[in-house]
């Protein structure tokens, strides 16, 4: 087998990018053509990613590693990309002449994240991360006419650039301590010197860059504004695919210590508790659906960290499972957001009123998705939390688990408010039924089925996650 076949998912993304670049060159805007092109290409992308899931090997002078861990994440990224494209039937938040660019930058961002999850060399990691960030810096202010988009774009750029700077500084420390930029070699050296301040500071500063991506406290400030300011589909992408990549790379970095640093664990526990608590408490007062989801994502970053800080195979596996669950549930929420606010505006929670008769299917999907986010069985969200908590309990973090569960109860309050809006409140004026096209119905049913079936029968996914997690150890 030729070595370049390892690089097929990324090459395919590059190819998609070229296609969209070509479409952007064509003068006359044609949203339907762009949409179907994107849908088809993204769909094939998922197939390509799935087909290459068993590949293994290294590329580019050992800087790039293809293994089950990276391939599983690439599948998730391809799926996230595909599902976000599925939401673009009515891309009203972005001007028609910018549609090809929108898809182009989504593609480059996906490409960058795919590279990120495979990179095992510090500079490659940095380059991949920046490529994904820059794509998003452009995507966020692409939204038309609402004014907040520019503020969101600038905020994202500023915070993102600072985080990058901090991360580079941290990388320099790690290089200084270990004299190498290769992760495989760092993993040999770092556990022996992890007690030294330079190593721990370097690692923490490096993690800051990724915490920014995941919106972990205290790097969460951008999230609510960017979620609200960006077009709904872009927010969906930032909320899902981008988080998946962040989790992957954080796991890779934390695994570097070989589980030997109690100091790092303490820091992660603190950040995790702070993220959960802050996200959940602030979410309670939100009126805007996307802002609510932003704060909920901050709290979920905290839950994922619980899995990661367990630093065991079960812990990493639970985090992989959790982020997959989060991807599905969040996309389901955004599906409803996009469909209800089909003119591309922001969705207030109050605007969900009467959803249960405007579209019973969407209402049910929303209810399951938010209950899933709250961690209520029989959804995949519960199973994710269950696995994460089990991993933490195995390490003896009883208090952390109890705090996390209390947080889950707090979060339930605002999730219930969403359900209440959809099922209980009636709109002030009679609103027409939402016309939900057949493909959207199918998509909704598929997402709901995935949420419930893998919530009740997680065996298969769990095995995949465990196998992927073993690659880290």
């Amino acid at each position: 087998m030729m070595k370049w076949t390892l690089f097929i998912p990324e090459l395919y993304c590059l190819f998609m990018g070229v296609v969209f670049f070509g479409l952007a060159m064509v003068s006359r805007p044609n949203p339907r053509r762009d949409y179907f092109a994107a849908l088809f290409l993204a769909g094939v992308g998922v197939v390509v990613a799935l087909a290459s899931v068993r590949l293994e090997g290294t590329l580019f002078f050992e800087a790039y590693r293809v293994d089950l861990f990276s391939q599983v994440f690439k599948v998730m990224l391809a799926m996230g990309f595909f599902l976000v494209v599925c939401l673009c039937t009515e891309l009203n938040g972005i001007e028609e002449r910018h549609h090809p660019e929108f898809y182009l930058f989504l593609t480059t961002c996906t490409l960058a994240m795919m590279m990120l999850v495979s990179s095992v060399e510090l500079l490659t990691i940095y380059v991949a991360l920046e490529l994904s960030s820059y794509s998003l810096y452009i995507l966020v202010p692409l939204r038309r006419g609402y004014g907040i988009d520019v503020e969101a774009g600038i905020k994202y750029l500023m915070v993102g650039a600072s985080a990058s700077a901090v991360m580079l500084f941290g990388l320099s420390y790690i290089f200084g301590v270990t004299h190498t930029t290769y992760v495989a070699e760092i993993i040999q050296v770092l556990p022996t010197v992890i007690g030294t301040p330079a190593a721990i500071v370097g690692l923490l500063l490096t993690l800051c860059g990724f915490f920014f991506k995941l919106a972990v406290f205290p790097f969460h400030f951008w999230a609510p504004d960017v979620y609200q300011g960006a077009a709904n589909q872009v927010t969906a992408y930032i909320a899902t695919a981008s988080k998946v990549a962040a989790v992957a790379i954080i796991m890779r970095m934390v695994a570097l210590t070989g589980g030997s640093s109690t100091y790092l664990v303490d820091v992660l526990v603190t950040l995790s508790i702070a993220s959960m608590t802050l996200g959940n408490l602030v979410a309670i007062v939100q009126k805007d659906m996307k802002r609510l989801l932003a704060y909920s994502s901050i709290s979920h970053a905290g839950y994922v960290l619980i899995g990661i800080l367990s630093m065991s195979t079960t812990g990493y596996a639970s985090a992989i499972f959790y982020i997959l669950a989060y991807l599905v549930m969040n996309l389901c929420c955004f599906l409803v957001v996009v469909k209800v606010a089909h003119d591309g505006s922001d969705l207030k929670i109050a605007q969900l009123a009467g959803l249960h008769h405007r579209s019973p299917l969407l209402a049910m999907a929303l209810m399951l998705a938010v209950f899933g986010l709250a961690g209520i069985p029989p959804t995949i969200g519960f199973t994710g939390k269950f696995l994460v908590f089990t991993a933490a309990m195995e390490k003896g973090y009883v208090a952390l688990v109890i705090i996390a569960m209390i947080n889950a109860t707090i979060s339930l309050y605002y999730y219930i408010l969403v359900v209440k809006a959809a099922y209980l409140l009636e709109p002030d004026e009679e609103l027409p039924r939402l016309s939900v096209s057949l493909p959207t119905k199918v998509l909704t049913v598929v997402l709901v089925t995935v949420m419930v079936v893998f919530g009740v029968a997680p065996s298969y996914l769990l095995e995949v996650a465990r196998a992927a997690a073993r690659m880290l150890m």
């Binding site: 249960h356 019973p360 209950f371 209520i376 069985p377 029989p378 519960f382 269950f386 908590f389 089990t390 309990m393 195995e394 009883v398 688990v401 109890i402 569960m405 209390i406 889950a408 109860t409 339930l412 309050y413 219930i416 359900v419 209440k420 099922y423 209980l424 009740v456 029968a457 997680p458 065996s459 769990l462 095995e463 465990r466």
Partner: protein, 492 residues
Amino acid sequence: MSMEFANFPYLSAILLSCVVGLLVILFIPAERKMLIKWVSLVSAGIAMALSIYLFFAYDKAQGGLQFVEKVLWVESMGIYYFNAADGFNLPMLMLTGIVLFTGVLTMWDLETRVKEFFAFTFLLVAGVFGVFMSMDLFFIFVWYDVSLFPMYPLIAIWGSTRKEYGAMKLTLYLLAGSALILPGIIYLFVNSGLNTFDVVALMQPGTFTPFQQKFAFILLYLGFGILAGVWPFHTWSPVGHVAAPTAVSMIHAGVLMKLGAFGVLRVAIFLCPEGWQYWAQLMAVLATCGIVYGAFVGLAQTDLKYVIGYSSVSHMGIVGLGLATVTIDGLNGAVFQMFAHGVMTALLFSSVGYIYDRTHTKMIPELGGLSKTMPIASGYFILAALAGIGVPCLASFWAELLVFISSFKVYPVRGALAICALVVGALFMLRVVQRTFYGEKNEKFAHIPDVTFVQGIPRMILVAVIVIFGLFPSLMLDVVQTAVVPFINGLP
């Protein structure tokens, strides 16, 4: 051994009848209300018939777990789909079947959002059945939560009297309870070192150290106890009962609160017997507080449903007291009381529901003299009230008797207090009966028709159950004994 199946999976069939009913309802257009009701009735009927059949088909001479269904579900974590019936859960399964069936009949006149109502109801009941029959910690928790969250829409959409507040309070309280249960369960799973969620495997003596048992027990007891209405975590319960629509009140007070007590029994007491003995004193104190408090607060209520709500707190206290005695009689009485109280409360709420739907009030001062306008409807309520007081020949009598005898032996002071509270309870029930059904007739309600025969069917069923088990308590006790005696005798 990864698979083990009885000849016919009766227990799964009960679950399936609910789940299939739910799915069928989901695919029926919302306009076809009658069809939805019939589907619900048939599903509920099958579930009830199967649960009653199991109760009587259980081999009492053999005892132990019967009708076992065991399939390995998640290998790497030792999760089993493991259902079985024993003397503890058979009465509960039958109770659920009866209350579900009569609840569906009681809601026969429902006109608003029928489809969603029955869909949520069946989801809830599937969860309840699941908790009662499951012998795997993971599934117990999953079913437990499945049975809780439909309560929110059920109360908030179809309820009355501060329904949104009541629904939110109830949901948050109960799920806060599960926030304690889940760490408790995971704690036991991790510390057992057996990598299994199988209750039978985890029950083996010596699996957990005394400290682990004490720690896990208190988490699980408080977590499940919230749902069982343990004082001082009971405040959600009257509010929720009052806000809920009739059938939901029936299921909720009749069955769901038992879920909490059953969880304490099946999870906390089974797995942490030493923790149980250690905390029994505390359990007895809380239970006695609940009995006394419920009785006295009930005395001051003017809303019929609040009265029943507080009497539930009081009666669930009796269950708690029975569990706290750590004796055979106490446990027998507790399980019997769960059953008897479930049927009795269902009848009470069912009767009040009828009155409220017609008169649009459940305030005691506004009613009055109802026995003259609707003697049959009043009769049902009065009978249930008498059962609540513990009149001989009705089911609760035996249950309460057993609990009080055993608690008097073990905790003389608390037992005596509880018995005194029972007198207060009798007083408040009789006061309600007297003010609502006797005395001056309220002309405003003179035109209201009485319960017809068809409308009376669900109530007749409940009355029949109360009387049968009141006259022949051995029907129940013989089954419960098969589980209680070996368990108590096997205690370390």
